[in-house]
């Protein structure tokens, strides 16, 4: 069998949900993603953490096939996403705070359209099921444009779960939500990942979200992976109390662990003083 044929027929069971190898994206003179590599294991929840412009959204967009890499490789369930996205598109789904569903259509109409696009066999019962799970029963016949931000997020989540994806990509899933609604969404996502055995990759700069959801954190800065580990590991490595403090260390260019104290005496002094 030729290599091309192997690419065309990704293994459904053995291929990692996501494999990124030496990925680069350059926009003009700006390098948005700079030689990153990582693999997502099945059933894990991984957060891409970083400040604005760190390369999170571009990375997610390349995983979805919305952006073509400048160089490097992106494989989703073994398929080269730039050329063979059609082979695996039904196995993943996506939700973003920055992408809407049509405002004039009712929730039910939107979900019906997307269920058709994803090839759900029994559309009505799937919508009824998700509406119950996500507490959307009373909203089904309301236009999407007349919903609150929290309600829209739940509808977006229902759309993302229509095909019960094995890989769910989330771009700032709780942006602009109040803490109560955001917490509700996080728990819902956690429950889904656990029951389905799904792999979740979320891009976020919300530390609470990452700490609560992620098994593993990939910290991006200026398009490069600067840290990769569990939230606990990162906190310990940096000698900090929270992931937010680790994040601030990274984006402000401070080194980790004991090296940080050596290189950055004023901060260490301040800490000791408090």
């Amino acid at each position: 069998m030729t290599e091309r044929q192997t690419t065309k027929e990704p293994s459904a069971s053995s291929a990692a949900p996501v494999l990124v190898r030496d990925l680069v994206k350059v926009y003009g003179k700006v390098t948005a993603v700079d030689h990153i590599s990582f693999t997502l294991e099945p059933g894990t929840t991984v957060a891409l953490l970083g400040g604005n412009g760190a390369g999170k959204t571009t990375t997610i967009a390349m995983l979805l096939g919305l952006v073509v890499p400048t160089s490097g490789e992106v494989r989703v369930f073994g398929a080269d996403i730039s050329n063979d996205r059609d082979l695996v598109a039904h196995r993943l789904n996506f939700q973003s705070a920055y992408v809407d569903l049509p405002m004039r259509l009712t929730v039910r109409q939107n979900l019906t359209v997307y269920a058709g696009l994803y090839g759900v066999a029994d559309i009505d019962s799937r919508i009824a099921y998700l509406a119950k799970e996500l507490q959307l029963d009373d909203l089904l016949d309301r236009p999407n444009g007349k919903l609150s931000a929290g309600q829209k997020t739940r509808v977006g989540l229902a759309k993302a779960l229509l095909n019960a994806p094995e890989l769910l990509l989330l771009d700032e899933p709780t942006a602009s939500l109040d803490p109560d609604t955001a917490d509700w969404i996080r728990r819902a996502l956690k429950g889904y990942a656990r029951e389905r055995g799904a792999t979740l990759l979320l891009a976020s700069h919300n530390m609470t979200e990452v700490e609560r959801l992620a098994d593993r954190v990939i910290l991006l800065d200026a398009g490069q992976i600067v840290e990769d580990g569990t939230p606990r590991e990162l906190i310990e490595t940096y000698g900090r109390e929270t992931l937010e403090e680790v994040f601030l260390d990274v984006v402000r260019g401070r080194a980790s662990g004991s090296a940080r104290r050596d290189l950055d005496p004023p901060i260490a002094v301040m800490e000791e003083a408090t």
């Binding site: 926009y27 967009a61 049509p102 259509l105 058709g116 889904y192 029951e195």
Partner: protein, 285 residues
């Protein structure tokens, strides 16, 4: 909010086959259903679809009626102006239907969802094309009926060639729609004006209201390279001389095939370019 319990996926939903003609048709009709929902959600949109062609038809119909009182034999030829207006509207409305439906996806910031779904680009194009014809029929059938009752002009008097004229104009409008959609994909809503203006570029060149012979010779070659020109020439030939030249029509269809291929290649090129430049991330903002 009430306490969130873990979301249960229940029995994992059965997904239908993702490849093959039936799968493609299912996705195309899913998207067309979205456009039907959209039209149904707004009575004003429905009225607007009929309003503009109806006004056009009235204006040109009354002008025709006025000119019929003069001695010009051309002016007295039954229905040439109304026929021109109605046929031009087939081209223009289908093109606008294609482009604005596409732009609507960007206005509603829905394109990201569509392009990350299993929908293939050619299925998106097929859905837009199909919907543009449905919109056209919704818009033109009432207007054509009104033209019959108000001015006694029966579009069906063009006979079988009408079906061929219709096909040529619709195919041309799809080519234009594909190019507009591609440019908008690549350059964003800033290029929206193109969706409106591209069809108007054809208005003087396609000789909608006058014969090709009126144009300077060099421009006649340009006009004859455009499929709609053959439609308008053919319509005048039928209405004024009762002669239908099928060769002209075949030429128009052959030209259309070329333009459609160019249109689809342009759309694919701009889509690819948008993916390279990252423009799809900024759409709608």
């Amino acid at each position: 909010m009430s306490e969130a319990r873990a979301i249960s996926v229940g029995a994992t939903p059965v997904l239908l086959p993702q490849t093959g003609v039936r799968a493609a048709l299912r996705r195309i009709f899913a998207l067309v259903r979205r456009y039907i929902y959209l039209l149904r959600s707004s009575g004003i949109r429905l009225i607007e679809l009929i309003y503009w062609p109806f006004l056009q038809m009235l204006t040109w119909g009354f002008l025709q009626k006025y000119l019929a009182g003069t001695t010009s034999p051309l002016a007295q030829a039954a229905g040439v102006l109304i026929g021109s207006v109605l046929l031009w509207d087939i081209l223009f409305r289908t093109k606008i239907g294609f482009s604005t439906t596409f732009i609507e996806e960007m206005w509603s910031r829905n394109l990201g969802n569509l392009l990350t779904s299993p929908l293939r680009p050619y299925e998106l194009v097929a859905a837009l094309s199909l919907w543009s014809v449905i919109r056209l029929l919704v818009s033109m059938i009432p207007v054509a009926i009104a033209a019959y009752f108000i001015f006694g002009f029966n579009l069906l008097d063009l006979g079988l060639p009408l079906a061929a004229f219709f096909a040529v104009l619709v195919l041309t409008s799809w080519s234009l729609g594909l190019i507009s959609a591609g440019v908008i994909l690549r350059y964003g809503l800033g290029a929206e004006e193109l969706a409106w203006s591209l069809a108007f570029l054809l208005l003087p060149l396609c000789c909608v209201y006058y014969p090709v012979s009126v144009l300077p010779e060099w421009l006649q070659w340009v006009a004859l390279a455009l499929p709609p020109t053959h439609v308008f020439e053919g319509m005048r030939s039928i209405l004024l001389h009762n002669v239908f030249d099928a060769t002209e029509l075949w030429r128009a269809l052959a030209l259309n095939a070329i333009y459609l291929v160019i249109g689809y290649l342009a759309f694919s090129f701009f889509l690819r370019s948008a993916r390279v430049k990252g423009s799809l991330l900024q759409l709608g903002e």
